[in-house]
Symmetry: C2
Subunit: 261 residues, 2 copies
């Protein structure tokens, strides 16, 4: 490739600069303004630092905090709290919907307390599969491997992944209840089998929903002009928790109508 | 600094190589064996690719999956499932302890179903604060800002963060119950005030525990010779979920003894 055609414009975003260097083995590139007038050069060691800084921001966001923009060792306590409290409060307000959802199911829970036992297990499985999907997709997007135009290809793949992963966890959950029942390690009541069936199907639904939301959210955020990394592991988990409860109690209602519920 | 003294040994770990380049503005460095015999050179553009690959692995691990080691677009469906299923199953088995813990509290739940309503809210707050802490610490460790020797400095800071962040969420949670009660949006029963108090103190305890475990786990893993990034957001959340339940029901027991429990 002819060297003179790889010039960076001053308004190129940082991520774009990193990508240009990755795809062209050059140690330095000229920077021009929109008219092609030379402004200076960017060297590869600037880019290494830049790339590392970008990745740091990305990792901190995936963890559910604002990017600190300062080393952990030197950031002031006040700034550290400010960067973390914002998202924690937003997530907490979102997660409050679980209390609302649970309120709707209070009748079911008091009729079948055994259902409450598996609430954390079910909803966390959705959160975990969603965290996996979102971090994988966020990273693939940052590396330029996929963009919004690929949403259907990603969705198809994640639907399949969700069904397979959900079925695996569903089987483990089903076995857990069956084995604990057989060996009398815990008394899930005479309707233990219905509980096991409920857990099995809920896990498929919740994990599927987790992988779909986790993979689509970064793409949608990008499309809306936001940073895909904002669809952090905790954010996806919160989103999936509320839906997870609804899926669980809906499945329970279908499976247990006329018996426990 | 004299150029000839910055030589990379063949057994230097990838992260170490990246660090050497970051701290010394060089475009290429010689590689020697242990006897100082020149084997070849490493150039900065190799390092940019290496650094990006390392960060990709780190991000995928923080999301709770194995590192894919291949682009999302080209990895086979079988490999994709294999890399994700392992951790999902391990997390699921760990999360099963919540069902065991909930089993112990089944009596409390059936006496005070209102307690069940806040279970997802309480435990997820611990998971969220833990995810934040672990990703911040994992990144600071990868950049060489902190190591195991700094554990006490980190712990002190995270204890303080946990108390402050927990108190903020505790106040929001307390207000939520009080406001919903005052406006008759939901009937938490005659003991609504005790419920609010329980939620307040539980949130402080759970968020504090989340930040402590989230920040200490990467340091401990490093000390044990494992990859700090394995203390992923879902891993920390799972760990904190079980403890969160114990904290919540213990606080409830103290606050509500003689009334609801």
């Amino acid at each position: 490739m002819d060297n003179q055609y790889i010039c960076l414009r001053v308004n190129d975003a940082q991520k774009e600069v990193i990508r240009v260097f990755r795809n062209n083995s050059r140690f330095a590139l000229p920077v021009t303004d929109d008219k092609g007038v030379l402004l200076g050069i960017v060297t590869l060691d600037d880019v290494l630092r830049l790339s590392e800084k970008e990745d740091t921001r990305e990792i901190q966001k995936i963890g559910g905090s604002e990017a600190l923009d300062e080393p952990y060792t030197t950031i002031s306590f006040g700034s550290l709290i400010k960067k973390r409290a914002g998202w924690l409060i937003i997530l907490f307000l979102g997660e409050m919907l679980t209390a609302t959802a649970m309120g709707h199911f209070e009748g079911e829970i008091s009729k079948a307390v055994v259902l409450a036992l598996f609430i954390p297990l079910i909803i966390s499985s959705g959160g975990n599969s969603g965290s996996q999907a979102s971090s994988i997709i966020i990273r693939a997007m940052a590396l330029g491997e996929i963009g919004f135009k690929d949403w259907w290809r990603v969705m198809r793949r994640e639907i399949l992944s969700g069904v397979v992963l959900g079925t695996i966890l569903g089987i483990v959950g089903f076995l857990r209840i069956t084995i604990w029942h057989e060996f009398n390690w815990y008394d899930y009541g005479i309707h233990w089998f219905l509980v096991a069936i409920t857990v099995f199907f809920s896990l498929i639904g919740v994990v599927l929903w987790g992988t779909i939301s986790g993979s689509m959210l970064p793409l949608v955020l990008k499309k809306l002009g936001a940073d895909p990394a904002a669809s952090s592991a905790p954010f996806v988990a919160t989103l999936v928790d509320v839906t997870g409860l609804v899926i669980y109690f809906s499945v329970a209602f279908v499976v247990m109508r006329g018996t426990l519920l």
